[in-house]
Symmetry: C2
Subunit: 196 residues, 2 copies
């Protein structure tokens, strides 16, 4: 077989995993979130820059503030998921770079002295880490519901600051009743991949 990953793991992470739209009441613990992070923190980023920052929304007061900035279709899911995470990019990640990339500490100044360059790099690499995070939530036996339909400026003002850009909001929990639509079709290999 071309894949060495166990078929059960393939199903857990990709083939049978789905974006859940409803959840049971079963809580998601901090212990689970720490285990997810301690797995996916090893996913690669450019210069090991690790720009992803996560805000776990646990209090009813914070949940209410978040729901107010979600799109109409996403608000009910965001209001009822056991746990909701705001995933953001840290545009000032370069401050940690000498610690994170010790064999070339000059990278901070050589490559990332300009804010627009940092923003572009932070956005790309935080998106990679957001995908690792989704895979990690699934590795914990949980369903993720990633969403990009929200008022980004509102969420940034409520929960972050001008140095942190919200990328997505993720509902996390065990899937409830009618948690998903039928699986939508996927583009074929021949549509996506060309060889030169």
């Amino acid at each position: 077989m071309p894949l060495v990953l166990d078929p059960t793991a393939q199903d857990l992470l990709f083939r049978e995993a789905r974006t859940a739209n409803t959840f049971t009441d079963q809580p998601v613990t901090d212990e689970q979130m720490q285990a997810v992070y301690d797995l996916v923190k090893y996913g690669p980023t450019a210069f090991n820059q690790m720009p992803l920052r996560v805000v776990l929304v646990r209090t009813p007061e914070a949940r209410e503030r978040l729901v107010a900035h979600m799109s109409e279709g996403n608000a009910p899911k965001t209001a009822t998921a056991p746990l909701v995470a705001i995933l953001a990019a840290d545009n000032e990640f370069h401050e940690e770079l000498p610690e994170l990339f010790p064999h070339f500490p000059q990278a901070k100044d050589v490559f990332f002295s300009e804010r627009p360059v940092r923003e572009g790099s932070a956005n790309l690499n935080a998106a990679l880490q957001a995908a690792y995070f989704i895979v990690g939530v699934r590795a914990a036996g949980l369903a993720a519901g990633p969403m990009t339909g929200f008022d980004a400026a509102g969420i940034q003002k409520e929960f972050l600051d001008e140095d942190h850009t919200p990328l997505m909001v993720v509902n996390i929990g065990h899937p409830g009743e009618n948690a998903w639509f039928p699986r939508s079709p996927r583009l074929s290999y021949d549509t996506v991949v060309t060889t030169v």
Copy 2:
């Protein structure tokens, strides 16, 4: 244990997987790449938009054209990896949306009629798919070497068109001698995650 994913799979995909800088001569087959794609195509994207496009660089002539646009540090790796993939975002992904998101075919016009909106969405979601792709390469028992140090305009002109934006170039193969530096440190959970 908080994670249900088998520890062997955790190691394969994250804990022991590394970004390889050298590779053996063992080839990477089209069968392997098809298996990788057929696994990671199920990773979620907004509106199931699937904007990632992949160019596999197999001929010596194409390899030479690609190496010419890589940064000085990345050129030798790109020249010697068994297989190199250019990962790009399709900014005209909305053309496929009625097929990919059949329960709301109006999404193409309601949300994605403006090119800047499509570019932003394509960049974020293709980056998610790039991360799924890296995980998938590891699921095939291969090492990935993702790189963002290249002349993007040059690669776009040589291998793509104005509707496709290069995101990264990935070396793929079995790790060779001295394939990596010691693992760099990672940010702690408490640095990355806050709770409100």
